[in-house]
């Protein structure tokens, strides 16, 4: 990375939230924030776009429903409409109540699993992934904010960050 960034460390999530607001008001660019736990409202304060994961999940659910319907319609009605205990296999709708448990479960299955996989892919998570942790303490009790310093005066920015309550600031080149 050619550009310079500042790593500012905060010890409290309230302080962090406040700092994010001040930094955004001062029009500095926040690259990334590393937290040990979810900070409520951080995404809003940073101005991140809302997730579309729920929408994908809904669509995956519809896919699951279609798979279930197509599968059972083919197997039970079209391919071999056998009389099993007097169940009416003449058309899909006539025997539908018996298929509903499977339709429901496959909808949930597709919606849940494909959404999780989407989440992994979008956030680039997999078993042998190398951890991208700038400071080991961020998984325990400190919050680290990465501020873009490329076009700014480093000293001014450092002063500003100290004023927002940062306890440590490091320049990374």
């Amino acid at each position: 990375m050619a550009s310079k960034v500042l790593h500012a460390i905060y010890r409290d999530d309230d302080l962090l939230l406040q700092a994010v607001k001040q930094i955004r008001e001062a029009r500095y660019h926040i690259g990334e924030i590393y937290c040990p736990f979810p900070v409520h409202g951080l995404d809003k304060a940073m101005g991140l776009a809302p997730t579309r994961l729920a929408i994908t999940s809904f669509m995956y659910g519809l896919v699951g429903l279609c798979v279930a319907v197509a599968m059972m319609n083919f197997i039970m009605i079209e391919d071999w409409p056998q009389d099993i205990g007097g169940k009416p296999s003449f058309s899909f709708i006539q025997n539908m109540p018996a298929f509903v448990p499977i339709m429901f479960e496959l909808t949930v299955f597709f919606a849940a699993h494909l959404m999780v996989i989407t989440f992994y892919m979008r956030s680039r998570l997999w078993p042998f992934k190398k951890a991208e942790n700038p400071d080991v303490r961020t998984t325990d009790d400190v919050f680290l904010m990465e501020v873009d310093a490329a076009n700014h005066n480093i000293d001014d920015l450092t002063d500003f960050l100290y004023k927002t309550g940062a306890s440590e600031i490091k320049l990374i080149e």
């Binding site: 729920a54 809904f58 109540p97 509903v100």
Partner: protein
């Protein structure tokens, strides 16, 4: 403080008056003798005959319980076939039997319409009371700003409960034929009902109804009284009292609600039984209650009376509407599918009758009570759009009216059902009464509770 606008009052009274007139028309228009029925059907020309012919073709006689039915239906098909040349001695007697059957159904029609509407509005306020008690018992932090709205809706419990009770007493006095098992002549020839008379007899039935209603109204009275007292409280003593009362109420409620559903609804079909019926009725009354809370809250908010209620509160109510609608569907389907799958004749007639004679309301219910709320209230943003919630709420309420309708009507009016003047009038009558009682009760206390330990959290509730 809320002041009842004269416009709303006038609307409520107009509803009540129009409803009462329509209902009276319904009672007057109901035929009194077999001759009236014949005349009515004759005035429809050949239609009646054709209809009877179709009916018998559609009904699978073997699936109906008891030999009697099979015989009766073959007879009625015979009369239908020879309808054109009716008037011969033997056939005439069968003919009379058929017309008498129709006569009873038509006489029941206005009564059943009255009963469905009375129960529907009563169940809304009962559902709200259950929701209210759950909010207390769960120490919910979001809902206290809505408590006064809920309390106002439960105010209908007293008049509504009395009306339902009076209707039950009138049935017990043989003013109508809603409950077959109340007819001693029917019981005398029916061994199945005879074996149930230890439970299904009029005095015990009315005593039970009095206990349920008395208990619910009593708990409601105490909770409301304490809630008013809490406004001037300095400590949490009254809150704790209400907390315990709510927990006690919920225990009492779940037992009595279940029994109420057997008594007031399931016993309309005394040959049929279902174990999850109590839950099914509960889901219906719960979701209608929550929907009504949402609609009334949004209405009051739009008039500027609930400035402390924000979109997050509406969002939460909409989530409940969404979730409990699915819960209702789950129970509807569980009951339907278990009976459909095993197809045991004595159970399955219940659904055969509904699927054949009530196809549109029976399956239409699934669209209004399930598909509509699921698709419209799934999106998080839509749950915050007030007119969206109102629109979905109205559809849900209509759907649950249909649900009660389909639970009551097949046993009382059978294939002679129609949503016409008596049904709509009864809804108007009770809708007007409900509106008047609820909004009148809203004027009796400030719209924001005080002294509730969660009120501050609730005012700042944000989702």
């Amino acid at each position: 403080m809320y002041t009842l606008s004269s416009k709303l009052k006038l609307t409520a009274f107009i509803f009540m008056i129009v409803g009462a007139i329509g209902l009276m028309y319904g009672f007057i228009a109901a035929p009194e003798t077999v001759e009236d029925v014949k005349e009515m059907m004759a005035s429809h020309g050949e239609h009646g005959e054709e209809h009877a012919g179709e009916e018998t073709e559609k009904v699978n006689v073997e699936q109906l319980p008891g030999g009697n039915n099979a015989e009766m239906h073959s007879e009625s098909s015979a009369t239908a076939d020879h309808g054109a040349e009716a008037g011969h001695g033997e056939e005439a007697s069968h003919d009379d039997e058929h017309y008498e059957h129709i006569l009873h159904q038509l006489q029941n029609k206005p009564w059943a319409a009255l009963y469905v509407a009375a129960f529907f509005f009563f169940m809304i306020s009962l559902g709200v009371l259950a929701f209210y008690a759950i909010q207390y018992a769960a120490q919910a932090g979001w809902s206290p700003v809505l408590f006064r709205v809920m309390e106002a809706i439960t105010a209908y419990l007293l008049p509504g409960g009395i009306i339902v009770f009076v209707l039950l007493v009138l049935s017990g006095l043989h003013m109508n034929h809603l409950f077959v098992w109340m007819d001693p002549e029917v019981v005398a020839h029916d061994e199945i009902i005879q074996n149930k008379t230890a439970y299904l007899n009029v005095p015990f039935f009315l005593i039970r109804a009095a206990i349920y209603l008395g208990g619910w109204i009593f708990f409601r009275h105490l909770l409301r009284k304490n809630s008013i007292k809490m406004d001037d409280a300095t400590d949490n003593r009254i809150f704790k009292k209400n907390f315990k009362l709510s927990a006690g109420f919920l225990v009492f409620f779940i037992v009595t609600e279940s029994m109420m559903s057997w008594d007031w609804i399931m016993s309309l079909d005394p040959h049929w039984f279902s174990t999850l019926f109590g839950w099914f009725v509960f889901a219906s009354l719960f979701v209608s209650g929550i929907t009504t809370i949402a609609i009334i809250s949004i209405y009051l908010k739009s008039r500027g009376y609930l400035e402390f209620v924000n979109d997050s509160h509406i969002h939460d109510l909409a989530k409940f509407m969404f979730g409990i609608s699915i819960f209702w569907t789950y129970l509807w389907f569980s009951q339907f599918m278990l009976i459909w799958y095993s197809n045991i004749p004595e159970e399955v007639v219940y659904f055969i009758q509904r699927m054949e004679d009530y196809q549109l309301p029976f399956f239409g219910m699934l669209i209004t009570n399930f598909l509509f709320p699921v698709l419209l209230l799934m999106n998080s943003d839509y749950k915050r759009v007030n007119w969206f919630v109102i629109m979905t709420g109205i559809v849900i309420l209509c759907g649950h009216y249909l649900n009660v309708y389909v639970m009551v009507m097949p046993a009382t009016v059978g294939e002679s059902w129609f949503i016409g003047i008596p049904e709509i009038s009864a809804m108007l009558l009770f809708g007007g009464l409900f509106t008047f009682v609820v909004f009148n009760s809203l004027t009796k206390a400030p719209l924001l509770v005080k002294g509730n330990p969660f009120i501050k959290e609730s005012k700042h509730y944000h989702y």
